[in-house]
């Protein structure tokens, strides 16, 4: 329960951190919140030779409007900030709602969004949320930078599209369309535990009240966060009523790939996905109809 020995470096700038990473590659890990990395190190599931601590890089701790209504969140922005930031609450309520489900307050005070994403635990909430929002992620290395779409970022269990010299430095959340409502729901045995199943719903209504666009994504439903596109398409084109909710839930039940675990069998996870889909879409629908969201 004690980590193996490692070398420790306090980065004094982003360039410094990236230069050291380029030199050491996979032997080095960035240390942001450390709320997943340090437990893994305590269990010796991870034994990096070098930790590059970026906690001193205050310039990476921000939530800002990128000018076109999109929001950008930096590599050192804590989950706590996402729970409390008024702009996130108004523009991206799904991110705020999901942040409240990430582990416990003590963990959210330290853990970062970008660290959460780079860890790529499919049972985690924010990867599914970013997939639902069609977010873009900016990877930077000593030799350049590139943007990665959320749907391309999560490759497999705990594995992302990041190269060994890259840091996930920023996330961009596109503005929600007018008349869009969102909802995140999960069911866990105890608050703060990994959810047995979680669903993020994004529903956009047309001016006539019919569903113009829908997005449904799930956590703990496969090796990576899973989008149930057939279920979402079943909601689009008409008014959403109980029948559409039932159809979408049934499709989602089949579309996801949960493996079952000690807390919930695969069959129960599929059942939960169907039930929670209905509830999440209902709440997203109500939010889409109110004026408070998306402005």
């Amino acid at each position: 329960m004690k980590p193996a020995a490692f070398k420790y470096l306090v980065a004094d700038s982003l360039d410094h951190a990236l230069a050291v990473k380029a030199e050491h590659g996979d032997d080095a890990r960035f240390l942001a919140g450390g709320q997943s990395l340090i437990p893994a190190m305590n269990f010796r599931l991870a034994e990096p030779a070098l930790l590059i601590d970026i906690n001193g890089l205050a310039a990476l701790d921000y939530v800002r409007d990128s000018g076109d209504g999109a929001m950008r969140i930096g590599a050192l922005t804590r989950q706590r900030t996402l729970e409390r930031d008024p702009l996130i609450a108004r523009r991206q309520p799904l991110v705020r709602e999901a942040a409240g489900h990430v582990a416990h307050p003590q963990i959210r005070n330290r853990g970062t969004l970008c660290g959460n994403l780079a860890h790529a635990d499919p049972a985690s909430e924010q990867p599914a949320v970013l997939l639902a929002l069609d977010a873009r992620l900016r990877a930077q290395s000593a030799s350049g930078e590139r943007w990665i779409e959320a749907r391309d970022f999560f490759v497999s269990l705990f594995t992302t599209a990041l190269e060994e010299d890259e840091m996930l430095v920023e996330v961009e959340l596109p503005a929600l369309a007018p008349r869009t409502g969102t909802c995140f729901i999960e069911l866990a045995r105890r608050p703060g535990d990994y959810a047995m199943m979680g669903v993020a719903a994004v529903i956009t209504l047309g001016e006539d009240g019919t569903c113009a666009d829908a997005r449904l994504t799930y956590c703990n439903a496969g090796e990576i966060p899973v989008a149930a596109d057939r279920a979402a398409r079943a909601l689009v084109g008409g008014r959403i009523g109980d029948e559409q909710l039932r159809i979408a839930g049934d499709l989602a039940r089949e579309e996801i790939s949960p493996t079952g675990n000690a807390q919930a069998s695969e069959a129960f996870q599929r059942h939960l996905a169907a039930v929670l889909t209905g509830r999440a879409v209902k709440r997203a629908l109500a939010a889409a109809g109110s004026e408070e969201v998306g402005g």
Binding site: M1, Y8, L9, D53, A103
Partner: protein
Amino acid sequence: MIEGLFTVTTSVNGTPYTRVVEPRLLLSDFLRHELGLTGTHVGCEHGVCGACTILFDGLPMRSCLMFAPQAHGHEIVTVEGLAADGDRLHPLQEAFRDAHGLQCGFCTPGILMTMKAFLDENPSPNEAEIRQALSGNLCRCTGYQHIVEAVTLAATRIAGRGPKS
């Protein structure tokens, strides 16, 4: 420079300390073994039980999920620093005693530090909010009922609305 050893200077309960440590030393072990502040307890060492919760720059965090060098230049408060006046317990500690909010006491330091920050941010919580705030701290003795009552009592006393002990 990439160092094998790291010199940490940190403030714990208002007292500055400097120690030379291995980077892999957990902050929880730093507090207990380097500084002798054994009030911070170590349970699971992977962030689940909450026994090692301290205030780091005013916010409750798991000291088992930080390395000692990360405390360099930061301010820590442990349960030993909760009673500002050495002769008188903090209202939370008094309320835990009066409402039987502990039995074996192992989880108590982490719960006190978590609830200190919680009541600072939310001085008049309802029961559901208290239970939610307690969710990151495991107690295997009490069934939590008396802990919830103790926190409620502390909130009442801190607000000056209830009977003093």
